[in-house]
């Protein structure tokens, strides 16, 4: 076994273009996923489905009984409670999963595993690494969301073809929240204790109060604006509207615009934080 590695006068390495470089980062993450996807199934697909069954089917029997829900919530006049929460849980689960992927795994790339430094020692730039990491989260969320929608349709939770449009809305909402979070993770130097606080005091309350299980009109007038500023509320309104009753174009434009601003700011800051941390 006398292996030697011959060094040619010219290295075989090339500089991939910006798009290809981004896709190569995605490919690297895909290699991880191919090996470990089973361990992500519960939180990405099963969790929202279990909530859908428990709340939509189980608790839904009380909401739908005698048209109780329909007296307070207009959308429930033409749909079951199961169909009411199905698109909202799609968006909420997408956002939660994206938030999870944008925090600890990103911090690990910088702090524990440090493999981000390995990547940027190659022709891949920090910006391309940031793009690829975010794109990967979006792809993951889209695939989980599609799997969820499929099972939800089998359970009769999907009211009509409009629900297909809820999927891109879910991905947009998830990334609108995850991109700024990735920027925060890229800035974090500590062990990530701040992530717990964000998950407990932002993500969880957002899921519970910003329209997933009941309309924000049920909240005291004073706290309603808190729900309105969350990306989740905009995504939920849009996804639910598209799935059940349709959304007025101007309102749809407003929701999408708001989410795009969050996403754009998040991407710009993430790029910046990646570059600063990886090239000092």
């Amino acid at each position: 076994m006398t292996a030697t590695v011959r060094a040619p006068a010219q290295s075989t390495g090339q500089v991939p273009g910006p798009v290809r470089a981004t896709l190569l980062v995605v490919e690297g993450l895909w290699t991880w996923y191919r090996r470990h996807w089973r361990s992500t199934l519960v939180s990405s697909v099963l969790q929202p489905l279990l909530y859908l069954v428990a709340m939509g089917v189980g608790l839904g029997t009380f909401v739908d009984a005698g048209g109780r829900g329909a007296r307070t919530v207009p959308e429930l006049a033409g749909a079951s409670y199961l169909q009411y929460i199905a698109p909202a849980l799609l968006v909420a689960a997408a956002l939660q999963n994206a938030a999870g992927e944008a925090t600890y795994p990103v911090l690990s790339g910088f702090k524990w595993q440090k493999n981000y430094w390995a990547v940027t020692a190659t022709p891949i730039t920090p910006h391309q690494l940031a793009h690829g990491s975010l794109l990967w989260i979006a792809i993951r969320v889209a695939v989980s969301g599609a799997a969820y929608l499929l099972v939800a349709a089998l359970l009769g939770a999907v009211a009509g073809p409009g629900a297909l449009l809820a999927l891109p809305v879910a991905v947009l909402t998830a990334m609108a929240f995850a991109a700024p979070l990735a920027a925060f993770a890229a800035t974090t130097r500590s062990g990530g204790e701040g992530f717990n606080v964000i998950i407990r005091f932002v993500v969880l309350p957002m899921t519970l109060f910003a329209g997933t299980f009941f309309p924000v009109e049920q909240l005291p007038a004073l706290v309603r604006p808190l729900a309105w500023v969350t990306p989740l509320w905009h995504g939920t309104e849009l996804a639910r509207g598209l799935s059940l009753t349709g959304v007025p174009p101007l309102a749809a434009l407003g929701h999408v615009g708001y989410l795009v601003v969050w996403l754009a700011v998040g991407v710009v800051v993430t790029r910046w934080r990646f570059r600063v941390r990886l090239t000092t």
């Binding site: 470990h36 089973r38 361990s39 992500t40 199934l41 519960v42 939180s43 099963l46 969790q47 279990l50 909530y51 069954v53 428990a54 709340m55 189980g58 608790l59 029997t61 009380f62 909401v63 109780r68 829900g69 307070t72 919530v73 429930l76 409670y81 939660q96 600890y104 062990g191 204790e193 992530f195 717990n196 606080v197 998950i199 407990r200 005091f201 993500v203 969880l204 309350p205 899921t207 519970l208 109060f209 299980f213 009941f214 049920q218 909240l219």
Partner: protein, 284 residues
């Protein structure tokens, strides 16, 4: 819907041998009667992590406010264990009390102990002192319990303030919550000794989440068709919720003692298995 992520951490001369009741059934050398050392250590570590500890209290509170108040308007009244009509908040609050006792105890016992076991190698250092695996098991479970007890007491106080407590029996809900937490922590700790990697925590989720959602936390057993009812009645959390709901609504009968006995058995089994497994893992 969130995971309680880990709180990350970092002796005295040998005590005289003691032989308590529980100890006679355990091999000698496993217990030095110094479990409180582990509790003191957890207190020290968590004094710096107060934010994480403090925030854990809010999770059930958020659920209570959202479901009890917000969703309650859509749900209306629910029939309680004694056949009386309850508001949805009155119904769901004891369910959340039991569920948070379970979640808090299990996550504390699994995430933290796994981290200390596999990464921080804390127990290797502890076992180099006169302390034995039994001290570790009881000490860590007690810590999980103290934390769970604080949360439960706070949650009960809020229930009282919101007028969701219908009986003086509710005073017993606190010790009941501690018992439930102890049992779940012990079982969780025993289970942790079999986990190999962080990815295996998905299995913990796989057990806890359906239990949280389907053990009559959010709606009564009557929703389920016959065979499913039997399955739900087999969930440990179902017994915890029955216990709590009986106490806070005042529908107390002899069956409540049965539910309590269930958790005493679970706790004893959990601690015994955890100590034996830790001994096997650490003292080889």
């Amino acid at each position: 819907m969130t995971q309680d992520l880990l709180t990350r951490p970092a002796g005295e001369p040998a005590p005289p041998a003691r032989t308590g009741l529980l100890l006679r059934v355990l091999p000698p050398g496993l217990y030095a009667g110094r479990a409180r050392m582990l509790v003191e250590r957890s207190l020290l570590v968590n004094r710096r992590m107060w934010l994480v500890v403090f925030t854990g209290f809010f999770e059930p509170l958020f659920f209570l406010l959202a479901l009890g108040q917000g969703l309650g308007a859509l749900v209306g009244g629910v029939t309680g264990p004694g056949g009386e009509s309850l508001t949805y908040a009155e119904f769901v609050a004891p369910g959340l009390l039991a569920a948070s006792a379970m979640n808090g105890a299990v996550y504390d016992a699994t995430f933290n102990i796994f981290f200390k076991l596999r990464y921080a190698k804390l127990y290797d250092a502890v076992l180099a002192t006169p302390l034995g695996p039994m001290d570790v098991a009881i000490g860590e479970v007690t810590w999980a319990l103290l934390r769970g007890g604080l949360y439960s007491a706070g949650f009960l106080a809020i229930m009282l303030g919101m007028g969701l407590v219908g009986s003086a029996w509710a005073l017993l809900a606190l010790p009941a919550a501690l018992l439930v937490a102890f049992a779940f922590a012990a079982v969780g700790m025993a289970a942790t000794t079999w986990l190999r990697s962080w990815q295996d925590f998905e299995y913990v989720q796989l057990v806890l989440l359906p239990m949280f959602l389907f053990s009559t936390t959010f709606y009564p057993l009557s929703v389920y068709p016959g065979p499913l009812r039997v399955a739900v009645e087999a969930f440990p959390l179902y017994h915890a919720i029955e216990l709590m709901r009986g106490l806070t609504t005042g529908a107390v009968h002899w069956g409540v003692l049965g539910h309590a006995a269930y958790f005493v058995v679970l706790a004893v089994l959990g601690v015994a298995v955890a100590a034996r497994r830790l001994g096997r893992l650490l003292l080889r």
